[in-house]
């Protein structure tokens, strides 16, 4: 009765599948009829042998592929009933041509059953948990119903995932049972010899026996294991027939020489069919058991590697060239597999990639596009009554002259290329409803990106500016969000093709909208390098002639000179103030402010009153990237569009000013006056002596030992301390004596580039080289280099560089310097991929987290992750240092 029921069920299912297949065939013929349905659920099941046969259009019996004429053999692996991959042929199953036919499955009858590798674990648990005699699950009858109820309840309460967990527990408990509670049969120990051999008490179980045992398991018991019967029967995990994938998923390629080269899957299937045929023949001829078994094992190997060619215990099947075959699992898995390579990530059209270079005269939200790219990438524009004349000018120019057009698209979707010959016809044909794909023009919307895209600021929307040259150009101020430089970096460029995409890019991704970092609430885009030193020099006691000042702010892009005071000589601060809006007020520290005092010096503290810079200098603290507090104030008051404009102007003011005055760092910048040199030498000498005294104490064992440290460790720590102190002392000397007017000092003071430590390293003393937090101690036996005596503990023998870069290093000092240099190079090279992988996992784990309207952070299933975003519910990008400054807001309203 149950048998009949099963039959009927499978019968019904088959009908459904058959209809689906036929439906597909019909759809192909009807040409693109879309059906929209919502997916409620997906059921996964295992193909039954019956189903395999039903869905197959051909039985494959011969490993041959083509006959002498190069025509596919009937019953071969390239049988045209399985679909067509040659132009001109028609599919025997559905009658459609190449590209229309989606392909059809075939099957082969296996001479002996074969274990499916991907199911060995389930087969294993099933064998272990059911009786070898009666096939029932090893649970007493009275307990079964209770367990079933329990499982159902768990599923209802906490979902299918929990149920699976529970099933696992039950299975784990069953594995030790050694007597069937129903028929009292003794159970033998079953083990798995990987990958596909099952042993029962050290005796081999043949797949035939395994299949017989699985067949005996009743439907009701299967359900406890989570196998619902119409979908899955355990014996289907032992294959008796093997579906042959359609040729369309394993197309052969014709080489230039006219030779055919088959797909890896076809090769593997050929092996399977060949061995299977031989096995059949041997069995029918009554060959000795040993030969049959050898062939059977070989067939098992081929079928296993057909599914997965990367099984630890099996040697991978290889081409004749020795390179391993790519079979089913390898096609899907890992980075180059179908999922991550073709589904999660795709190749795009309407995109470009080249080297980038800087152009400060571009606006921040612009991107310079080479004209070659601009004639290849297009924007589709729909023709209507009002723009037909305008669009015709593009078509007239054709694909080669800029700005022209490359294609027109007819209302029926047919794409026509514009060439010199078809130009006239296209022009004639053009009417409302058509689409013209015109060249990229200034002001078009594009998306600009640099990998690795770790940020949302790594992909921003820029306006196109078509320029001569062959590189993509960007304002150097937007390097920070992309983390770009110009040492050969390449960037990607995309042109959105629909109105929706363009609107979305403009509203959500434009550079202006990305100004304030959501990590720390300051402007990520700001002045860098020259722009900072330029503004610093300008705002620090410089006066220029009025003509020069006008020239300067004119070059920056300001046309209104009325803000400049009517004087023959204007100060740098007045020039800078000319850019600021009249109602802007700001007060903040500059880098020169002494923060230890309550009130800082009036000279350095930045005060802007009604758009006039009254005192202070512009430096990194005010206008720098990731630190510019003035930029944040401007953004708060005047909004994104004004900020980006002003930022561009300030940036340009800095470099334009430097351009006019000149700015170079010279070797003489590191010159020190004689007393300073003397002091540095003395300090280093004292340090050297101190180290000598420490070593002496150590040798006499008189050194005072730090708690928890050995004498040796104490010595190392003390020496490090002494040497560090000495280096800092030289640094201080350099800072005190160095000429503040030198350009190197200006760069360091304004925060444009470099710091006092760098200067001290050049002028005075490089300092201790450290490997893993210790002095250098590697190298030869009991010494670092053979230039020193063994057990020499002195500072110079362990990597202290007492010379500065200008004086020059001794050979051994240079060697120590390269040791740490190599170490840090290796460190960065190894750290990058590691942190990249870490980031990938983090991003995947958090990708669907979202702040809901009630300020809770929830995942895709609306489970709460945080009850209040960031525990305080504050959006950092809209706060000041993580707090909302209510006082300031009230004052400003």
């Amino acid at each position: 009765m149950a048998e009949e029921d099963k039959q009927q069920k499978t019968e019904q299912e088959l009908e459904v599948i058959k209809q689906a297949i036929e439906g597909k065939v019909e759809r192909v013929e009807q040409e693109e009829q879309h059906i929209y349905k919502q997916v409620r659920s997906i059921a996964f099941s295992i193909l039954s042998p019956k189903m395999v046969k039903k869905m197959a259009s051909a039985k494959i019996v011969t490993p041959e592929l083509y006959d002498k004429e190069g025509y596919p053999v009937d019953g071969g692996l390239m049988d045209i009933r399985l679909g067509v991959i040659d132009p001109g042929l028609r599919c025997k199953t559905c009658g459609s041509k190449l590209k229309e036919c989606i392909g059809h499955f075939g099957y082969i009858e296996l001479a002996r059953p074969i274990i499916h590798v991907k199911f060995v674990n389930i087969v294993m648990t099933l064998l272990k948990c059911t009786c070898r005699e009666c096939g029932r699950i090893l649970i007493p009858d009275n307990k079964i119903s209770k367990i079933r109820e329990n499982l159902d309840q768990i599923e209802k309460e906490s979902g299918i995932e929990e149920r699976r967990q529970k099933v696992k527990e039950i299975i784990a408990g069953l594995k030790t049972t050694n007597k069937c509670p129903l028929c009292k049969a003794k159970q033998k120990k079953i083990s798995l010899e990987k990958p596909t051999t099952f042993l029962e008490d050290e005796k081999r179980l043949s797949p035939i026996e395994i299949r017989a045992r699985l067949e005996k398991i009743p439907d009701s018991d299967c359900e406890i294991f989570g196998l619902k019967v119409p979908h899955v029967r355990p014996e289907w995990m032992v294959l008796t027939v093997l579906p042959i994938p359609p040729v369309t998923m394993r197309p052969s390629i014709t080489l230039e020489s006219g030779e055919r080269s088959e797909d890896d899957l076809t090769h593997k299937l050929g092996d399977i069919v060949r061995i299977n045929q031989r096995l059949f023949e041997n069995i029918n001829a009554g060959a000795p058991e040993i030969i049959v078994e050898d062939l059977w094992d070989l067939l098992q190997y081929h079928v296993t590697t057909f599914f997965d060619n990367n099984i630890a215990q099996l040697p991978p099947a290889r081409h004749r060239s020795g390179q391993p075959l790519k079979t089913l699992t390898e096609r899907i898995k890992s980075k180059e597999g179908r999922i991550r390579h073709n589904l999660a990530g795709k190749r795009t059209n309407f995109s470009a990639r080249t080297v980038i270079s800087p152009d400060p005269m571009l606006e921040l939200f612009e991107v310079g596009v080479p004209s070659i790219i601009a004639t290849k990438l297009t924007v589709p524009e729909r023709v209507n009554e009002w723009n037909i004349q305008y669009l015709k000018t593009f078509v007239e120019k054709g694909p080669d002259k800029y700005p022209g057009a490359n294609y027109i698209i007819r209302p029926d979707g047919k794409k026509k290329k514009i060439t010199d010959e078809t130009k006239e016809a296209s022009l004639e044909e053009l009417q409302p409803g058509y689409i013209v794909e015109r060249h990229l023009m200034d002001g078009d919307i594009s998306i600009f990106n640099r990998q690795p895209s770790l940020h949302r600021m790594s992909m921003m929307c820029h306006r196109v500016k078509v320029l001569p040259g062959k590189t993509l150009r960007l304002n150097p101020a937007v390097c920070t969000p992309y983390n770009a430089d110009f040492d050969g970096d390449e960037m990607n460029f995309h042109v959105p093709q629909t109105e929706e995409a363009r609107a979305e890019a403009e509203i959500l991704m434009e550079v202006q909208t990305q100004l304030i970092s959501l990590r720390y609430g300051l402007s990520i885009i700001g002045c860098t390098q020259d722009a900072i030193s330029g503004n610093y020099v300008l705002t620090k006691n410089v006066s220029v002639k009025r003509e020069d000042a006008i020239d300067l702010i004119g070059a920056v892009g300001v046309a209104d000179f009325s803000k400049l005071p009517r004087k023959a000589i204007v100060t740098g601060r007045e020039v800078f103030s000319a850019l600021l809006p009249d109602d802007f007020n700001y007060s903040g520290h500059s880098r020169l402010c002494d923060r230890s005092k309550d009130k800082c010096d009036k000279e350095f503290h930045v005060v802007i009153d009604n758009g006039k810079l009254l005192s202070g200098v512009m430096d990194r603290n005010s206008i720098g990237e990731e630190s510019g507090l003035m930029l944040r104030s401007i953004h708060q008051k005047y909004g994104k569009d004004f900020s980006i404009e002003l930022l561009g102007r300030i940036f340009r003011l800095g470099i334009e000013f430097l351009l006019r005055t000149g700015f170079t760092s010279a070797l003489s910048d590191t010159d020190l006056p004689e007393p300073a040199k003397q002091k540095i030498l003395e300090d280093l000498d004292i340090a050297r002596k101190d180290v000598g005294i420490l070593i002496q104490q150590f040798k006499e064992a008189k050194l005072e030992v730090f708690p928890g440290k050995t004498m040796q460790e104490t010595l190392e720590l003390k020496i490090l301390e002494v040497l560090n102190k000495a280096r800092n002392e030289t640094g201080r000397t350099v800072a005190n004596f160095a000429d503040k007017r030198t350009n190197t000092m200006i760069m360091a003071e304004s925060g444009a580039r470099g710091n006092l430590l760098n200067l001290a390293q050049m002028a005075a003393c490089v300092g201790q080289q450290a490997l893993r937090g210790k002095r250098i101690e590697k190298g030869y036996e009991q010494r670092t280099i053979s230039h020193f005596k063994k057990n020499d503990l002195s500072s110079e023998a362990h990597g202290f560089i007492s010379n500065g870069f200008k004086t020059g290093l001794t050979p051994s000092e240079f060697f120590f310097g390269s040791m740490t240099g190599r170490d840090s190079l290796m460190d960065t090279a190894l750290r990058t991929p590691k942190s990249g992988y870490l980031y990938r996992r983090l991003a995947n784990a958090m990708q669907d987290l979202k702040v809901e309207y009630d300020n809770t952070v929830r995942d895709a299933s609306k489970k709460i992750i945080q009850f209040e975003y960031g525990e305080d519910g504050i959006d950092v990008s809209k706060s000041e240092n993580g707090v909302i400054n209510v006082k300031r807001i009230i004052n400003s309203v």
Partner: protein, 81 residues
């Protein structure tokens, strides 16, 4: 084996765990418009709630020190397994 005297739940670094009443629980669910399934879970055997004798289904209120907000409240539902 002797039982260790050290109790994790009394340690200064362990945030305070409090079992809330059924009424408070309902108020909480009401406030966030959720069912108890959407709450984060805590294991019944978690050392921090050993003393509370909480049953599966109870909600634990956790008072944590927070670098951003000073004090933050968190709720977790007791579950077995």
């Amino acid at each position: 084996m002797k039982k260790p005297k050290f109790k994790v739940d009394k340690h200064i670094l362990t945030p305070k765990h409090i079992k809330i009443s059924e009424r408070e629980k309902l108020q909480l669910l009401e406030k966030y418009n959720i069912t108890s399934k959407e709450l984060p879970k805590i294991l019944k055997t978690d050392s921090a709630i050993k003393e509370l004798e909480a049953k599966p289904g109870d909600v634990i209120k956790i008072i944590r020190k927070s670098p951003t907000a000073g004090v933050s409240l968190f709720y977790r539902m007791v579950s077995d397994v």
